[in-house]
């Protein structure tokens, strides 16, 4: 904001805006961004050639874009002091319903040659499937007041189970070529993968929604003090339902992206997506206690595990160190957050 410039001179006792430098220094996001930059610098110093090659950059970005879409939704949920363990399963379920519907609409039940009409229906089916699970989560959390950990642990299992029931336990492998070659593996402006562009757009809209709108403001308020939010007339129940719904829709979109990229429903590959998304969000400075967080932070947080993974490959460290390194950074991030809260609450 640049509001201070235009305002009339302030009286002595009215507060001034703290300099940007100070505000940033106190934010978790700054520290974790520095960690990310330091990691990249270290890997680049050890092996300058490999890190910055276009292919490395592209694959890192592509592999992270699906996770990023999940993590954007997860950021909203965690800021309300909730959690959503179901995102990976909802992703798979949405991919399955989408693929099945596109196949059913195609001659011979094979959508490989399907056109954009069918693909659009497939996208809508994925979004609606995600929305349905999100709505269910939201209603059970906000209206039935069941702890989100339990609700979404339930839908984590149920969504995957439902998907496997629909396919008989094996992957659907027929995906429209037109989808796979454009959204899946296509690029724009010569080098930028379309999948990355879509993830970037989702992230930008998410950042706008969280940071500048009433919806975002209420998300923080509900997570910061639910009773206070209720007393000021905020429709807390409705808001929570909407937040879980949003996360479900984004998981549905991620399912469609994953389908386009892998050309299969990848039944077994998403069992830890939930934890990866949560780790990214928390690494990015969003507090598990609610009320604090940002999408920018989540972007940084999601890239840290990805960069560690790639970096370890590049410098020849056994990749099994990656989860251990992520765990250390994660625990440190949460520890900082708790220390910050303690310092504040003791005032």
């Amino acid at each position: 904001m640049t509001s201070t410039v235009a305002e009339k001179p302030t009286e002595d006792d009215t507060p001034r805006r703290r300099p940007l430098r100070l505000r940033l220094a106190s934010a978790n996001t700054l520290w974790i961004s520095l960690v990310l930059l330091a990691l990249i610098a270290v890997f680049a110093a050890i092996n300058p050639g490999a890190v910055l090659t276009l292919f490395n950059l592209q694959t890192t970005l592509i592999e992270t874009s699906v996770l990023l879409v999940l993590a954007v939704g997860m950021t909203f949920v965690i800021i309300t002091s909730g959690i959503d363990l179901s995102v990976g399963s909802v992703l798979v379920f949405s991919g399955i319903t989408s693929a099945l519907v596109m196949n059913a609409m195609s001659p011979g039940g094979d959508s490989t040659g399907a056109g954009w009409g069918v693909i659009t229906v497939g996208l809508l089916v994925a979004l609606v499937s995600g929305a349905a699970w999100g709505l269910l989560n939201g209603i059970l959390v906000a209206k039935a007041k069941i702890p989100p950990l339990i609700v979404t642990l339930g839908s984590f299992g149920a969504a995957l189970g439902a998907g496997e029931l629909l396919t008989g336990g094996s992957d659907v492998r027929t995906v429209p070529d037109a989808l796979a070659t454009t959204l899946g593996s296509g690029t724009s402006f010569g080098v930028v993968p379309n999948l990355v562009i879509l993830a970037a757009v989702v992230t930008a809209v998410g950042a706008w929604l969280l940071g500048t709108t009433k919806f975002g403001r209420y998300t923080y308020a509900v997570g910061s003090n639910e009773v206070a939010a209720r007393r000021t007339g905020i429709a807390v129940t409705r808001h929570l339902v909407l937040v879980y719904l949003l996360t479900g829709v984004l998981a549905g979109l991620a399912g469609f992206m994953s389908l386009a990229y892998f050309r299969t429903t990848t039944l077994t590959s998403h069992s830890t997506d939930n934890l990866n998304a949560i780790a990214g969000v928390v690494l990015g400075g969003t507090s598990l206690f609610g009320g604090v967080g940002s999408i920018i932070g989540t972007v940084v947080g999601v890239f840290i595990p990805a960069v560690l993974q790639k970096g370890f490959v590049i410098i020849g460290v056994n990749v099994y160190w990656q989860p251990i390194a992520v765990a250390i950074v994660l625990v440190a991030a949460v520890w900082f957050d708790q220390a910050r809260r303690r310092a504040r609450n003791s005032r």
Binding site: S3, T10, P15, T213, F215, N225, I234, G291
Partner: protein
């Protein structure tokens, strides 16, 4: 005395087997500060919750400007111009003072962006700054989450939020309990300012000198019932304590 702005008649409220209010009555006029006092557990907080829509009485009636009203939620009460500072701090500690002041009443931008839900943060900040300075609320910074402020400053923001939006009645449940001497005086000054604007202020406090200095009248609750009413100028500490403990009973008070 002018006709009462807000009136409660024989409110009864049970929590399970606990009878928190047993036919409590109360009135307050515009431009008047009335203190509601009583021992712990007398039912003061419950009473205020009923009058501000946070709880619903089991029986009894509430009249605003002579007309019976049903306060089924705090939102209803606020729409009628009734604001409350709750005893348990009702602020969002992770939001900054301006965001707390405007919580639930956010200003949106004009035009398309506003229609999309985008907030006018600059305008809210500007107005918050003006209101805080009008009410004498001193904050070192408008940018920190209010959880990072001292307890007194947090409470000042909570008080400011209710008086800024109130058009008829403000309830304050022990607004000064957590405050130091200077901040306590500030809150009392705010109370006087608000009263002078013609708003009715209902104050709950355990601090008898404070009650005597700021109130126009005092009503005493005991075991869920009104047991005495005084004009502040005509009463004394001894009388108030006597009424609170049951040593002094006014026959006509209930």
């Amino acid at each position: 005395m002018s006709s009462p702005l807000l009136q409660a008649r024989s409110l009864v409220k049970h929590y399970g087997s606990v009878e928190a209010l047993r036919g409590a009555s109360f009135e307050v006029s515009a431009g008047e500060v009335v203190s509601l006092i009583g021992d712990n557990g007398a039912g003061k907080s419950t009473f205020i919750k009923c009058l501000s829509g946070a709880e619903q009485p089991d029986s009894g009636e509430i009249l605003l400007g002579g007309e019976q009203v049903r306060l089924d939620s705090p939102t209803t009460a606020r729409a009628l111009g009734i604001e409350t500072v709750y005893q348990d701090l009702a602020v969002a500690p992770d939001l900054d003072p301006a965001a707390n002041l405007f919580l639930g009443r956010e200003l949106k931008r004009r035009g398309l962006l506003g229609a999309l839900g985008m907030l006018d943060k600059a305008e809210m900040r500007r107005r918050a700054r003006a209101e805080f300075s009008r009410l004498g609320v001193n904050l070192q910074s408008l940018d920190v989450p209010i959880g990072a402020l001292s307890g007194g400053q947090r409470q000042s923001v909570a008080v400011a939020r209710s008086v800024v939006w109130a058009s008829k009645v403000v309830f304050m449940d022990e607004p000064t309990a957590a405050l130091g001497v200077v901040q306590r005086e500030r809150v009392l000054d705010v109370i006087r300012k608000v009263r002078d604007q013609g708003i009715a202020v209902v104050l709950i406090s355990h601090n008898m000198p404070e009650v005597l200095s700021v109130s126009d009248r005092v009503e005493v609750l005991r075991l869920g019932r009104r047991v005495a009413r005084f004009k502040a100028a005509e009463t004394s500490l001894e009388e108030l304590v006597g009424a609170m403990t049951g040593a002094l009973v006014q026959e006509d008070a209930a």
